[in-house]
Amino acid sequence: MKNSEFQNYILALLLFLFSACVPAEYKGSYRDGRTGATLELKGTSATFTSADGKSRKASKSPLKFKELLKAEEGIFMRESPVNKELLEIFWVRPDSRTLKEQESLVWFNAEVIHLRLRKDLRDKAQELTLLHSMSGQVTLDRTTELVQIGWAPSPSLYTMRRVQD
């Protein structure tokens, strides 16, 4: 590989890796006018207050596979495999009492908050949709390191609108 090709490869790799973070255009406070639920996205933390007034805060760095295996709470992020400009965010709050493992599968129940954020916005996002389920589930395969995060039917959906910069 020539030097110039190697440099291009490194540049592309760095851009690709940094793109996994929450886009800056989404930072700020949001509120669902129908239920009063709120969401605050900051550089290193996020706070979600559901309609019943209960708040959850995540300030840890994004979860790794090994941390998910231990049913640790936090935010798991990945790019959409069909749209590289779309970031899938799963905020997982595990019920560690349900952690089970058999035949390389690890699974547990969890409260799940899910967002889908665009990485190609040029202006600040004014609105986003937030999914919240108390009946979520995380399934991990040690062999392939596949991560599946899902939830039972009829989760709560919030239409969050920006309230301040």
Binding site: M1, A20, M77, Q102, S104, L105, W107, Q148, W151
Partner: protein, 743 residues
């Protein structure tokens, strides 16, 4: 912030690994206890050992093989790409040089050759122009006097007298011919009409149903065909192990256990190899491909490209020559041509005019002479013909009319009976000639004689087009035809059509004879039809694993109402489809009325479109009164498609099988709808299996076009004869697909 970024980096890396690394690092955490008389333990141990050895072979082979093939293909790709680029560059340089040289050379050659060719062509075409003008002018001057002379010479001949004499002979021949063609048949017809106009003294009607039926069922099924279903089998190819580390060293006390150990070892070896090979191979291949490509390019760029430059020069020279040649040629040609043309034309005119004049004069004289002689002859011939015809025709007409009457009289003596009409009669009177319905003839006979006709003297015979089943091809009457009678004969002969002739044209011919002499022939055409015709009421669509209603329109084609129940039966000879409800019935159908028959079927395949063979029969009692036998393209329209990535046959063995599924979102746009999966094993051995992992397994939403893989471990408690593994997928609780895989 820097810490966050660092973690993002790790997280992305982790995700990439999770997405792309193939199945690896199998382990079986728990081995079931081994009861001494049971071979299952030996088999399990064999599988475990075989799996490890197979994985070892994959680890040893996949890297070098991927690297070798990647390097070779990369080298070839890089070499070819760079070689092509360099060759094109050299070709272009050569082309430019050659073009300039060729353009100058072309201009010089064009000037020289244009001048030469223009001079030659101008001379030639000018000469032709002079000849043409002389010919045209001479014709106009010579033709009128030539014609006048020809007419004068013709008027001096005996053409008119010759025509008159020939006309007298022709007139007599025409009179005879006209009498034969007109008056002879008139004499026959007048006599025949007079016989038909005679009063009918007796009218009669009788039945000839004396049929000995054929074996109808045998004939029917001989023509009945059902298309077989096509197989829909997906196969996945893997690299094959060479068993270099195969070492099935089970040492058990019984031959059965050693055999079970060997079987398990082989199965485990294959599984371990295939689970590990492709991932390692792919990584080695891609890396080696890049390196090989770069190396190949470097080698290609150092090749000798002088031949390409020469080829470009040659091509450019050719193109440049063409560019320079034509304009120079055109200018020189025009100047030379114009100069030569005029003088050549005038010279040719002067030298050829007199010869043309003489030729045209003689030609006009000859033509006028022949034309005038012909006109005089025809006038004489017409006069002679008319005079002789008027003289002879009345006599000839009288003779031929009398001959016609005499011949027809003789014919009525020899054939005193005639078949007037014949038609097909149904045994099921509903306006339809149905397959296997007994069909017969209704015939009208008239006896013109003054005596009764013996029934044995009258025969009826039938023939038919291919496929028509003739049960009774010949018969004779069963009672006398009375004196001067008109008789209707019912149920004569018998035939039917098979189902293969439904909606096709069939032909039957009936011939009547009296003492072996033909007394009438009728040919009848008809189309066989079922009582009911069935078509799709709406374009069908299927769902994999989910019942779908398929609706047919059933139309009564007959002229009468069908009050009996119609039972409809749908059969689909295809393993890709399961008929849930295959029977339906309609209580009654008005004449030309319609009803709907509904069935339920489901697809057992995830293909986009099925070629669906189907046979829909409608029965009235035990009689088939409708059949739709066709193959239709039917789409399978689930929002999600499931593919099982390997054969589930390992479920027959004791132990854990990891089933890897691919689930693809084909057409759902519901981005926040999560998915719920349930897996179970169906069949008589279902209690023998235990699905490992959460039930249901919950998955995050998928976008349209997205596909994901997931693994479902299933424990087979004992070796077994097989069953069906079912995967049910719901989208936010709503069932979207059920997939079956047999093992």
């Amino acid at each position: 912030m820097s810490k966050l970024k660092a973690n993002c980096v790790w997280n992305k890396h982790s995700f990439l690994l999770g997405t792309f690394i193939a199945l690896s690092n199998f382990s079986f955490a728990q081995s079931p206890p081994i009861p001494p008389p049971d071979t299952s333990g030996a088999r399990q141990a064999g599988q475990n050992n075989g799996f490890a050895d197979g994985a070892r072979e994959a680890a040893e082979r996949a890297g070098p093989e991927g690297e070798r093939e990647g390097r070779e293909r990369g080298y070839n790709e890089g070499y070819q790409r760079c070689y092509d680029d360099q060759a094109k560059r050299n070709y272009d340089i050569g082309y430019a040089d050659g073009f300039q040289y060729g353009e100058n050379r072309g201009a010089t050659d064009g000037e020289r050759q244009g001048r030469s060719e223009g001079d030659r062509r101008g001379e030639s075409e000018g000469h032709s122009d002079g000849l043409n003008r002389a010919d045209r002018d001479a014709d106009a001057a010579a033709t009128p006097p030539g014609r006048r002379q020809g007419i004068d010479e013709a008027n001096q001949t005996d053409a008119r007298e010759r025509g008159y004499r020939d006309g007298l002979v022709a007139g007599e021949q025409r009179a005879r011919r006209t009498a034969i063609e007109v008056d002879y048949p008139k004499g026959r017809k007048d006599y025949r009409d007079s016989r038909f106009a005679e009063p009918i003294e007796n009218q009669d009607e009788f039945d000839l149903s004396v049929l000995q039926p054929l074996n109808w069922e045998k004939e029917f099924y001989k023509n009945f065909k059902i298309k077989t279903a096509k197989d829909f089998i997906n196969r996945f190819a893997f690299a094959s192990p060479d068993y270099r580390h195969s070492n099935p060293n089970g040492n058990y006390s019984t031959p059965e256990e050693n055999s079970a150990y060997s079987d398990g070892y082989r199965s485990g070896y294959d599984s371990g190899f295939s689970s590990n090979y492709s991932g390692i191979y792919d990584r080695a291949y891609h890396h080696a491909f890049q390196m090989g490509s770069s190396q190949g390019c470097h080698v290609a760029q150092n090749q000798d490209f002088s031949s390409h430059r020469r080829r470009g020069y040659d091509s450019g020279e050719s193109d440049g020559y063409s560019r320079g040649y034509q304009p120079a040629y055109d200018r020189a040609y025009r100047w030379a041509y114009d100069s030569a043309f005029r003088s050549a034309s005038d010279s040719a005119y002067r030298s050829s005019y007199d010869d043309y004049y003489r030729s045209h004069y003689e030609s006009a004289r000859r033509d006028a002479y022949e034309s005038q002689v012909r006109a005089l002859y025809n006038a004489g011939h017409q006069q002679g013909d008319a005079e002789k015809f008027a003289e002879k025709y009345p006599l000839f007409a009288k003779e031929e009319y009398a001959r016609g009457v005499a011949d027809e009289t003789t014919d009525f003596t020899q054939r005193p009976v005639r078949m007037l009409e014949a038609e097909i009669s149904e045994s099921i009177v509903n306006g339809l000639m149905e397959p296997l319905e007994k069909l017969r003839f209704k015939v009208q006979l008239r006896n013109f004689a003054n005596h009764e006709i013996n029934p044995k003297d009258i025969s009826l015979t039938m023939t038919a087009s291919n496929g028509v089943i003739i049960a009774l091809p010949q018969t004779h009457l069963t009672q006398n035809l009375k004196v001067k009678s008109f008789s209707k004969i019912k149920n004569a002969l018998e035939f039917s059509i098979p189902e293969s002739l439904v909606n096709k044209s069939s032909t039957v011919n009936i011939t009547a004879t009296y003492m072996g002499r033909e007394i009438g022939v009728k040919q009848l055409q008809f189309n066989g039809k079922y009582l009911t015709v069935m078509t799709f009421a709406e374009k069908p669509q299927l769902l994999e694993g989910m019942p779908t209603e398929i609706i047919f329109k059933v139309k009564n084609q007959s002229t009468i109402a069908e009050t009996g129940a119609l039972n409809l039966s749908l059969k689909i000879p295809s393993t890709a489809v399961e008929v849930i409800t295959g029977e339906s019935s309609l209580t009654s159908l008005k004449a030309s009325g319609e009803g709907l028959a509904k069935f339920k079927i489901l697809a057992r395949t995830s293909g986009m479109t099925l070629n669906l063979p189907l046979v829909l029969s409608s029965l009235q009692g035990t009689r088939r009164v409708g059949l739709l036998d066709s193959t239709s393209e039917v789409p399978v329209v689930n929002d999600y498609r499931i593919t099982l990535m390997q054969s589930p046959s390992s479920l027959k063995n004791k132990g854990v099988s990891r089933l890897t599924y691919t689930l693809k979102n084909i057409s759902s746009r519901l981005v926040f709808k999560g998915l719920q999966l349930k897996v179970k094993v169906l069949g008589a051995n279902s209690a023998n299996f235990s699905v490992i992992g959460p039930q249901p397994q919950l998955l995050s939403p998928m976008e349209k076009g997205q596909a994901i893989n997931f693994v479902v471990p299933v424990l087979s408690k004992n070796a077994n004869s097989g069953g069906t593994v079912e995967l049910e997928v719901r989208e936010d609780g709503k069932l979207v697909v059920i997939h079956h895989a047999k093992f």
